[in-house]
C-alpha cells in the first residue's frame, strides 16, 4: 500500500480540518467554554481525560489530525507514504515553531513517540502503539516508523501532540507548563477552576481569530447549562443531562448540535466470576435488560439503543449484528435450563439451595447511570435474582474495583472510539491491558489481530464484524447505548464545524 499526499491536497485538507464555515471576523476575541472536569495533565503523551485531550488539541499539533469524519489529515506531517506494510514515512511541514520560538524538527517527533512506546514512561497511549518497533529521524524533516507487524489503525492514533525534546530533557514540566506548536498557548491554569489559553500569533496556519479561550470547570451539568443560558459561557458540550438538552434544544437563542457521538455505555460482565463464567448465564442476564426503557426514559432518547459494539457511524457497522433483546420469559427459561429455579414461596431463583446473587455497580458522578443501575436491579429482582447495587465515587469504582476485576456487573463507558480497534483490542483481547473481566477467547483474539493487521478496508470490516458477532453472542460486554454528542453555542460564534470528539479547533480558525 502506498499513499502519497500532494501539497495542494494537503493545504485543502488542513483548511477543511481547521476552518468553520463562517466568516471569521464574527468570532469574538474571548471565548468561554464550559467543561465538566479539569485536565489531569497538559502533557499530551500522558493525557487520559476528555478535558486534557481537548485542551492539548489546542496547545499542540499532532503528526496528523482527525477530520470531522475521523479521517487522518495532515497536521505537522505534510504528507506521508507507506513504502512497505510495516514502514511509514512522514514528511514534516517546514517552518513550524514551538511557542518559545524554537523550530520543530524530526527529533521532537522521534522523542515524543519514543517516550510513548517506552514502558517506563507509562503513557496511557502506549497500548495503542505497541506494534511500533522503532521511530527514527531520517533527516531534520522526515520521520520513519517501523512496525513489528502491519497495523491498520496506526494513522488514527498519530494525533498525539508533539512535545519539544530540548525543553523536556532540560527538565521543564510540560504537564503543568506546556509548550507546543498549536494555535493556542497556556496563559493561566487554576487547578479545578479554569484553563486560560491565548492565541499563538505565530501559528503556522495563521493567527487564530479568538484571542483567548477559557475552559471553565463547572462540575454540575445543570449549573453548567444554566451558566450558558445566562450568557456566562459561549459554548457547552457533552456530557450534559438529558433534561438540560431538551430545554436547550427548544431555546431559539442558541445553536444546537445533537448527533451521534463516539462513545458507548456498556455493562462489563466479569467472566472470571463463577456465576458469570458461563456465556448462557450472561445471555440470560442480557435478556433481562430493558434497554428501550433505559435509553428512552432515563436517557430521554438522547443516547441511542445499541445493537453491538460497533458504532453506527463506523465503516465497520452492520445492523444485522444484534445482542439479545429484552425477553424476561426467555431469560427465565434459560436460567431454568441452567438449574436456577424458584424452589420455595419467596420467588427467588435457587440452585442447590443457594439463591442467585448478583451485584451491579456503577459510579456516583453520573446520575443517569445510577438510575439505570437501580432500574436494572428492580427488573432482575422481579425475575427472582437477588440483585444488589453498589455505587461509589469514580476513583474507588475504577481503580479500586473494576480495574482490579472485583466486579460482577459494572456499568461504565468508553469514549473517543475513532476506530473499532479502540473499543475491542485492549478491552477484550486475552492479553488486552483493559480486559478487566478476564475474557479469553482465541477466536476473538484472531479476529482482533486480523482487524489490526489487514491493511484493506474490506478485510478490516470483515474482521471487526466477526469480532462484534462473537461479542454479541458471548456477551463479555453488553452494550447498552451509543452515546450522543451534544453541543450548544452562542450564535455570535457563527456556524461552527462539528467535531464529535468535542475538539475545539473550529474556534481557532485563522483571523481574516
Amino acid at each position: 500500500m502506498r499513499a502519497i499526499v500532494s501539497a495542494p491536497l494537503v493545504l485543502a485538507a488542513v483548511l477543511t480540518a481547521t476552518t468553520p464555515g463562517v466568516s471569521y471576523a464574527e468570532m469574538p476575541k474571548a471565548v468561554r467554554v464550559g467543561i465538566d472536569v479539569d485536565a489531569g495533565t497538559l502533557d499530551p503523551r500522558l493525557a487520559r481525560d476528555t478535558t486534557a485531550f481537548r485542551a492539548n488539541d489546542l496547545i499542540y499539533d499532532g503528526l496528523v489530525q482527525l477530520s470531522q469524519d475521523l479521517k487522518p489529515v495532515p497536521d505537522i506531517a505534510e504528507s506521508w507514504d507507506n513504502p512497505a506494510p510495516t514502514v511509514w514515512v512522514f514528511h514534516l511541514r517546514k517552518g513550524v515553531k514551538f511557542h518559545d520560538g524554537a523550530p520543530l524538527t524530526a527529533e521532537d517527533v522521534v522523542f515524543t513517540y519514543r517516550s510513548i512506546i517506552d514502558p517506563k514512561f507509562n503513557a496511557p497511549y502506549r497500548a495503542l502503539v505497541t506494534p511500533v518497533a522503532s521511530v527514527d529521524a531520517i533527516d531534520a524533516s522526515t520521520v520513519k516508523f517501523t512496525l513489528e507487524v502491519p497495523y491498520a489503525p496506526l494513522l488514527s492514533y498519530l494525533d498525539v501532540g508533539i512535545v519539544p525534546k530540548a525543553l523536556v530533557e532540560g527538565g521543564r514540566d510540560i504537564a503543568l507548563k506546556p509548550i507546543g506548536t498549536g494555535p493556542m498557548k497556556l496563559a493561566a491554569w487554576q487547578r479545578g477552576a479554569s484553563i486560560k489559553l491565548e492565541a499563538n500569533a505565530d501559528y503556522w496556519a495563521g493567527a487564530p481569530a479568538a484571542k483567548t479561550i477559557e475552559l471553565v470547570v463547572i462540575g454540575d451539568n445543570t449549573a453548567r447549562a444554566q451558566a450558558f443560558e445566562a450568557g456566562d459561557l459561549d459554548l457547552i458540550q457533552s456530557p450534559l443531562s438529558p433534561q438540560d438538552i431538551k430545554r436547550l434544544q427548544a431555546d431559539r437563542r442558541f445553536v444546537p448540535t445533537v448527533q451521534a457521538g463516539l462513545g458507548i455505555t456498556y455493562l462489563n460482565l466479569n467472566t472470571a466470576d463463577p456465576i458469570l463464567a458461563d456465556p448462557k448465564m450472561r445471555r440470560a442476564l442480557a435478556m433481562l435488560i430493558d434497554q428501550k426503557t433505559i435509553v428512552g426514559k432515563i436517557y430521554e432518547g438522547v443516547d441511542q439503543a445499541a445493537t453491538s459494539i460497533l458504532l453506527p457511524s463506523s465503516w465497520a457497522y452492520s445492523p444485522e449484528i444484534k445482542q439479545p433483546d429484552f425477553d424476561p420469559e426467555g431469560a427465565r427459561a434459560l436460567l431454568a435450563s441452567l438449574g436456577w429455579k424458584v424452589s420455595n414461596g419467596d420467588g427467588l431463583l435457587r440452585k442447590d439451595g443457594k439463591p442467585l446473587k448478583l451485584t451491579i455497580a456503577t459510579h456516583s458522578e453520573d446520575p443517569n447511570r445510577v438510575q439505570a443501575v437501580e432500574f436494572m436491579q428492580a427488573v432482575m429482582k422481579q425475575a427472582g435474582i437477588q440483585a444488589e447495587i453498589q455505587i461509589s465515587d469514580w476513583p474507588s469504582f475504577s481503580t479500586g474495583y473494576v480495574q482490579q476485576g472485583k466486579h460482577q456487573v459494572a456499568l461504565l463507558g468508553w469514549l473517543n472510539l475513532v476506530d473499532p480497534d479502540r473499543v475491542s483490542y485492549g478491552q477484550l483481547h486475552t492479553d488486552g491491558s483493559l480486559n478487566w473481566g478476564k475474557y479469553a477467547n482465541p477466536a476473538l483474539d484472531a479476529l482482533l489481530d486480523a482487524g489490526r493487521q489487514s491493511l484493506d478496508l474490506p478485510g478490516r470490516q470483515a474482521a471487526y464484524r466477526g469480532a462484534a458477532r462473537v461479542i454479541a453472542d458471548e456477551l463479555p460486554y453488553y452494550v447498552l447505548s451509543y452515546q450522543g454528542y451534544q453541543r450548544f453555542h452562542n450564535p455570535k460564534l457563527g456556524e461552527l464545524q462539528v467535531n464529535p470528539r468535542g475538539y475545539l479547533r473550529a474556534l481557532v480558525a485563522p483571523a481574516k
Binding site: 489531569g40 507509562n122 479545578g192 479554569s194 471553565v216 474507588s396
Partner: protein, 329 residues
Amino acid sequence: MLSYVGQRLVLLIPTAAGMVVVTFCLLLLIPGDPAAMLLGPEASPEAIQRLRTALGLDASWYMRLGDYVLRLAQGDMGMSLFQNEPVSTVIFSRLGATVELAVVALLLASIAGIALGVAAASRQGTMIDVGAMLLAQLGVSMPIYWLGILLALFFSVHLGWLPAIGRGAPLPDALLAAVTGEPEVFVNFLSHLFLPALALGANAAAVISRLVRASMLEVLSEDFVRTAHSKGLRPHRVIFAHVLRNALLPVISMIGLRFGALLGGAVLTESIFGWPGLGQLTIAAISQRDLPLIQGITLTFAILFALVNLAVDLIYAAVDPRIRLGGVP
C-alpha cells in the same frame, strides 16, 4: 488577655494534630489508588507498583503518618501528587477566594438573621413574626445545592441581573479600585459574589434568626425590660440598647459555630458557581485521590475554624464584661 490568646493558640496544636491523624486514617480507609489514578487505566500493574513505591504509599501506615507529622512540624505539607507543587502553595493560591466568600456569607447571614429575629420577636404573634419564621423555615430546609441552582436560574437565567459563575477581582483589589475611581470593578466584584454568598449564607441566616427570636423573647420577659419600659424609654431604645445586647450573647457563639458549616457548604457552593476557591480544589483533590492535598486542605479548614472560634470568644468577652478571659475555659 494576651496570655489567653496565647494559650488558645497553643491549644491549636493538639487540635490540629488530632485533625491530621483522623484525616490520615480516613484516607487510609477509602478505596481508590492515587498511583493508579495518576497513571490511568492502561498502566501495567508493575508501573503502578513502581509509582506506589516512589510515592511512599507502600510503607506501613504508621511510618507514613510519622513521616507526615515530622514534615508538618517543619512547616512542610508535602507535594501535591497531581500538581507537582507544594501543597501549601496550592492552598494559599486559593484560600483568599474561600475566606472572602465565607466571610461575606457569614456577614450577610448575621445581618439578615439578626434583622429577621428582631422583627419577629418584637412583633410576636403578628404576620411579620409568622412571615419571618416561615422564611427561616425555608432557609433551614433548603439544601445549599438546590438553592444555588434556583438562585442562578432566577437571577442569572431569567432576570439576567447577575452572573451565574466566576469571581470578580479579589476583595483588596476591588476595594482599591473603588477608592481609586474605578467603581465598576467593585460592582463587578459584588455582582459575582452576591449569589454564592446568598446561597451559602441562607442556612446560617435562618438558624441565627430563630435563635435571635427565641433569645429576645426570653429577655423581653425579664424584669429589667419592664423597668426600662416603665421609665418611659422609647420601645426602639429598649429593644436595641437593652434587649438585643443581652439576647445576642448566645447568638455570637452560634455565629462562630456556623462558620464550620459554612466552610463545608463552600465546597458545594463553589462547585455550582465556579468559584475558584478551596472548595472547588477539594472536589478536584478528592476525585483524583491527591492525598497530601486533601490532608492539607482539611488541616487548613480545621485551623480556620479554630481561629474563628477564638475570635468569637474574644468578641463575646468584649460584648459581655462579666466574662473574664483569665484562663482557658
